[in-house]
């Protein structure tokens, strides 16, 4: 299955800001974090198709994962 991963702010340093990754069925978001060498505690907003939540959510074909370090404004 294919999943799109989008990175923001300084997660982009030394990484692709947007990429399609081919993964085995049953892969969790936490496995993607490992592949990208991003520690879970560095992630502040972890969106799966626009919904924030934990990293043990299972991925399916066509999902979009968006990762943000702690950032904010107003």
């Amino acid at each position: 299955m294919n999943v799109e991963v989008r990175l923001f702010a300084y997660f982009r340093e030394g990484r692709e800001k947007k990429q399609i990754i081919t993964l085995a069925e049953g892969t969790e978001i936490s496995n993607v974090l490992d592949m990208l060498n991003i520690k879970e505690e560095e992630v502040s907003i972890l969106l799966l198709n626009g919904r924030d939540g934990p990293s043990d959510r299972k991925l399916k074909n066509g999902d979009i994962v968006a990762l943000f370090p702690p950032v904010g404004g107003g």
Binding site: A9, D52, V71, G73
Partner: protein
């Protein structure tokens, strides 16, 4: 007297009379200062029913108890008046350096009354206060005005209006330090209506603090917290508020084309990351601020100017279907020069574009201006900003804001406003608590006086499900009260990335004396919110105005990650009123007003119920 300077300036522009009055310390402490003290003064001295652009309205500028004090982010001041845009309370806040310099003149507040017979400005050099002729700066931009007046009073700081305020635009702002704005509510027009062009300050007074050693310790402890906080210490300094573009868009709540859509594939073209990479020259900090979220950017012609905030990038960008940073940066600069509120100015152009899209505005109406109202036309936004500021051609209609514009075509539902003030850059259909904040906000469509984006999107101080309804009204109420506290003591709301209620208690008490605890300080915020509500009720804004545009309640978001959602205001509103201790009609009860020490204002509650 600690924290406060003890003096209030009363300037009657009609009589050209200046009086220095003693600050009532008990009242100042009860209402904290700045926003709270200003609202208390306004409701005591101005009939809420007055015409906001008549000499009977007053224009108040107030510093907080901590403004100018040696604690972090103490550069804030507040403008308080009756809003010509909403007809209710206007409370517009700004940073920069002017607020701290004003306090250094030895004053806590200025009350402007009446109307000058010709353009004037006020100069305050400590106790030397003068009303001076301003004919030579009338019609000038904020940058020109600042330069000319700083030549007349060396090393001073300048607060002024641009041509938009002079021309009584209902979405005009007050500008200080060239590119900082007390933006919302049309406050610039109130200065314009009084022929008051500027207030120039230069001060040498020091603030007397209650416990110097404690102030030093508390302050360095809070600075440390802010420096170590990942948002206040790293995210905001690196990217500014523009970082929100991608966050809000990825959540599917980034309004596009006047809230017709809530997601775009083009967001990265106008993101914080792109601003930082391609346009940022340097960052900029307000007085005593360790965060430094301000941006300085380079325009297409090479000039270096103050950069846009997130809200501005959205209003002139996605809301107008524009993804061109050069145009957005220029529109932002022009708003500062002409003295326009960037949120309302961009959102009003967006509403005009939808009115044009739907055939309400005809080509012949805008032909003479040589500008289009097509989505995505970069040249149009900068052109319309100038015409709005000068009230030229069709720009004169835009200068009144989107509500009056859309209403004039019989289509007020096209205006994305609450209480006639333009909504900012978050679609509440996918952020339920923030929708409550919009609907009940005393100053109309506003994000900042109860920024539910913090818990619902950013996870501060904890993560809440943005689509959930349960508990949101009570949560929003606490945010409203806490924000009233932070505004009124004179600090920046961005300290909430890191600091909590108790931190503000510690700072206030160290500077002003041991007056508050956590519970009583938050209650002071609640007192201020209730007083603002009473002003609105007496001004004729009933709680039936606590609503959202029809589109947000009835039309589901058409695509993107929040597809299919609407806002559930009807379910949430009764719970908000209950959390406030208000009756079902949204009127503060006598019991609540007594609990908050607002006995003398119960008459307004009774009148509203009559």
């Amino acid at each position: 007297m600690y924290g406060y300077m003890g003096k209030v300036l009363r300037v009657n522009l009609s009589k050209r009379k200046i009086e220095s009055e003693a600050l009532d310390l008990k009242v100042a402490q009860k209402y904290l200062g700045s926003r709270g003290l200003g609202v208390k003064t306004l409701i005591d001295e101005v009939n809420p029913k007055v015409d906001p652009l008549s000499p009977d309205n007053k224009f108040i500028i107030a510093a907080g108890a901590l403004t100018g004090a040696p604690v972090p982010t103490s550069g804030r001041y507040m403008v308080i008046t009756k809003s010509p845009l909403t007809g209710g309370i206007a409370i517009a806040n700004s940073g920069g350096k002017w607020g701290a310099d004003f306090k250094a003149t030895g004053h806590d507040m200025i009350i402007f009354e009446g109307k000058a017979d010709k353009p004037v400005y006020l100069s305050i050099e400590d106790d030397r206060v003068e009303i001076r002729d301003a004919a030579h700066v009338w019609g000038k931009t904020s940058e020109e005005t600042t330069e000319i007046l700083q030549n007349e009073i060396k090393d001073s700081k300048v607060l002024c209006i641009g041509p938009a305020g002079e021309n009584l635009s209902l979405i005009s702002a007050v500008i200080n330090d060239v590119d900082r704005a007390a933006g919302r509510g049309g406050v610039g027009a109130v200065m314009g209506s009084k022929n008051l062009k500027a207030v120039v300050v230069k001060g040498t007074n020091k603030i007397n603090v209650f416990d110097e050693e404690r102030v030093k310790n508390v302050s360095s402890q809070k600075i440390k917290i802010l420096r170590e906080d990942p948002v206040a210490g790293q995210g905001l300094p690196s990217y500014g508020t523009a970082i929100l573009v991608n966050i809000i868009n990825e959540n599917g709540v980034f309004p596009v084309k006047n809230y017709q859509e809530a997601y775009t594939d083009n967001a990265d073209l106008i993101s914080g990351e792109t601003l930082t990479e391609k346009y940022l020259v340097r960052k900029n900090a307000c007085f005593r601020c360790p965060i430094a979220c301000g941006r300085v950017v380079k325009l297409a012609d090479g000039s270096i100017v103050g950069g846009p905030e997130y809200e501005t990038i959205w209003s002139f960008g996605a809301d107008c279907g524009i993804f061109d940073y050069n145009a957005i940066n220029e529109a932002n600069m022009l708003c500062n020069e002409f003295g326009l509120d960037t949120i309302s100015a961009g959102a009003t152009i967006a509403a005009a574009m939808e009115l044009y899209q739907r055939g309400y505005i005809k080509d012949e109406e805008i032909e003479g201006d040589g500008l289009s109202l097509n989505w995505g036309d970069s040249k149009a936004i900068t052109g319309w900003v100038k015409k709005m500021g000068l009230k030229e051609g069709f720009g004169a209609k835009l200068a009144l804001g989107s509500y009056r514009l859309a209403e004039s075509y019989g289509a007020p539902e096209i205006s994305m406003t609450v209480k006639k003030q333009e909504l900012p850059a978050y679609d509440p259909r996918g952020i339920q608590g923030h929708g409550i904040n919009y609907a009940v906000n005393n100053r109309g469509g506003c994000h900042i006086k109860g920024y539910m984006i913090n818990p619902e999107i950013l996870g501060y101080p904890e993560k809440l499900d943005r689509l959930a309804l349960e508990g949101k009204p009570a949560y929003t109420k606490v945010f409203h009260d806490l924000t009233a506290v932070i505004d009124s003591i004179g600090l920046c709301l961005f300290t909430t990335f890191g600091l909590g209620l108790h931190d503000y208690v510690e700072m206030y008490n160290a500077v002003c004396g041991d007056i508050y605890n956590d519970e009583t300080l938050l209650e002071a915020g609640e007192r201020i919110w209730n007083l603002e509500k009473l002003f609105n009720l007496e001004a004729g804004i009933s709680s039936s105005e606590d609503k959202l545009p029809k589109r947000l309640l009835e039309e589901p978001i058409p695509g993107g990650p929040s597809k299919g959602h609407v806002h559930h205001l009807n379910e949430l509103l009764p719970e908000y009123y209950a959390a406030r201790g208000w009756n079902k009609e949204g009127i503060p009860t006598e019991e609540t007003l007594k609990r908050l020490g607002l006995e003398e204002y119960i008459k307004y509650s009774r009148l509203a119920q009559a």
